[in-house]
Amino acid sequence: MDKLTVPQIQQKANDIREDIITMLEHAGSGHSAGPLGLADIFAALYFNILNLDPKNPEWEDRDILMLSNGHTNPVQYAAMAEAGFFDKDELMTLRQYGSRLQGHPERERLPGLETTSGPLGSGLSQAAGYAYTLQYMDDIKDRFVYVVMGDGELNEGNIWEAAMFAGKYKLSQLIGIIDRNNIQIDGNTEDVMPLEDLKGKWEAFGWHVIEIDGHNIESIIDATSQGRAITNRPTMIIAHTIPGKGVEFMEYDYKWHGMAPNSDQAKIALEKLRTLDGKITHEGAGL
């Protein structure tokens, strides 16, 4: 796939946000805040960072993206549709009987998904297993394994088992991205189960850690590029994001973690997204 420019990626992120609102409203259930907060990261991944071929999802030279917090999958489905893995109309089948777009991602249903996830905490170790295979068994140095995690799921012990494993084996082709939006179902992450000092924790496990603004496309691209250049450690990108980003009445509000907008709310959200409250404009995207 051709790599898009930053303004083009910003536009794609906006399109992905519109897709998320439309598909969630149509599905009548699902998670809103996480996917909206991840839209910039997924736009950067699918339209610049990852080496992928939407027409050949099993392309053997591709990069790997594993989504660990599977409940945010509307953002991945939207990004995949925008990237041409499947027709955008199919987004409207989300969570319906017979759909390839299951409520949580299932690898065998939809070409382009690398794993099945939903139960939290297991994505990092799968990505680590893939990265170990590339680095030590198959001696392939030009493919990278990315894994997107939520911050709430860092409560899971499996994550820290994987953190130790990747640190021990210096899995330099492994790049983790934590969606640091500070919310989980029961409230603020620091109230439910404090994660800080989060950077210090990963560093103590032997990781190279980069903290970025998860809505700054350039920062996302730069951080992954730095991660690929580091050859003696795995990289963890702590991406600070705003849950519900782009839809003002959802932003920072943890009740939107597990809720879908109704038709009135979707209408307001889509109007906001299409005008972008002056933050970025379609004209500015240069398309």
Partner: protein, 329 residues
């Protein structure tokens, strides 16, 4: 075709060998035949007999540490990368501790990860109830896509390991710590999904899985001395069940006894009972752990305490057949 049994059966020359040793040999052989096979262990490499593979293929062996959740999920990632990963630990920890990871990232994700549960059952002996995994059969056979195998002896464990290496499916293999009698021969058949009639009978069908099949052979010999002609069916594959062989034996004998060194609730006895209740309802007696945990002790003492020896099974079957009529269609 009759099943060739070890001619030394019930003699002083009977060879004893743990099923885990057969696994170790089988994994090395499988690794020689297929370079996609890799092995991961959670700090129990020699105990689970993976050291043979590790010595032969150091680049294809991964030490994961005492982290069973990581063990199977790293393996799932390796399977996505094209490998056929064998993961080993004690059955109490894998699948005991990491069952959800197996369910989501191996079974639902349908990756050919092999879960090797060593030190399963009462044969784990002196380590006591925490380490005597009795619930693994129930846990694993309930998972869609999962193949469940409990080899009867070390020769069969070697064959079963080589077979699951090439079956392309998520699979569980149940192994014992202690040396157990080797009742089969190199030329005895083994195929995933097949059950084998080891001895023909007419009065009652004794169906065993794993190392309990030996106890059933012993029980059948004792029952013969009391005029009861028991058939012995060895069922190393608990899932998928060989329905044809099992139903045919049940039909011939009209009464079925199952035996396992695991919980009868949800275990092998349940699997046979489910099949018979739907397809051929008849009296069934389930021998195994009766909704209780084990405890520390020499395996021989524990087998006696829980009524699992061939002699005790013979007594129980003799008593049961007196009061339980054969099923006639």
């Amino acid at each position: 075709m009759s099943y060739p049994l070890n001619p030394a059966l019930f003699t002083g020359d009977m060879q004893l060998d743990p099923t885990r040793a057969g696994f170790g040999r089988g994994l090395k052989a499988a690794g020689e035949a297929n370079e996609s096979i890799v092995a991961l262990c959670a700090d129990l490499t020699e105990s689970t007999q993976m050291h043979l593979f590790k010595a032969a293929f150091p680049k294809r062996f991964v030490e994961v540490g005492v982290a069973e959740q990581n063990l199977v999920t790293v393996a799932s990632g390796m399977a996505r990368a094209g490998k056929i990963p064998f993961t080993s630990s004690y059955a109490a920890f894998s699948p005991g501790r990491n069952w959800e990871q197996i369910r989501t990232t191996v079974s639902l994700n349908n990756q050919p990860v092999k879960i090797v549960g060593s030190h399963a059952g009462i044969y784990t002996g002196k380590d006591g109830a925490t380490h005597q995994m009795l619930e693994d059969i129930a846990l694993m056979r309930v998972l869609p896509n999962m193949v469940v195998v409990a080899p009867g002896d070390s020769i069969e464990a070697e064959k079963a390991t080589r077979a699951i290496a090439e079956n392309g499916l998520p699979s569980y293999i149940r192994l014992a710590r202690e040396k157990t009698p080797v009742f089969s021969l190199d030329e005895s058949p083994f195929e995933i999904g097949k059950a084998y009639v080891l001895k023909d009978g007419t009065d009652v069908s004794l169906m065993g899985t794993g190392t309990m099949t030996y106890q059933l052979l012993l029980a059948a010999k004792i029952l013969a001395e009391h005029g009861i002609n028991a058939e012995v069916v060895h069922v190393p594959t608990i899932k998928p069940l060989d329905e044809e062989t099992i139903l045919a034996s049940a039909q011939r004998n009209g009464r079925v006894v199952t035996a396992e060194e695991a919980q009868v609730i949800g275990g092998f006895g349940s699997a046979i009972t489910e099949l018979l209740s739907e397809k051929l309802p008849m009296p069934v007696k389930r021998i195994g752990m009766q909704d209780r945990f084990g405890e520390s002790g020499d395996p021989k003492d524990l087998f006696k305490a829980f009524g699992l020896t061939g002699e005790q099974i013979a007594e129980q079957v003799a008593e049961w057949t007196k009061t339980t009529h054969r099923y006639h269609q």
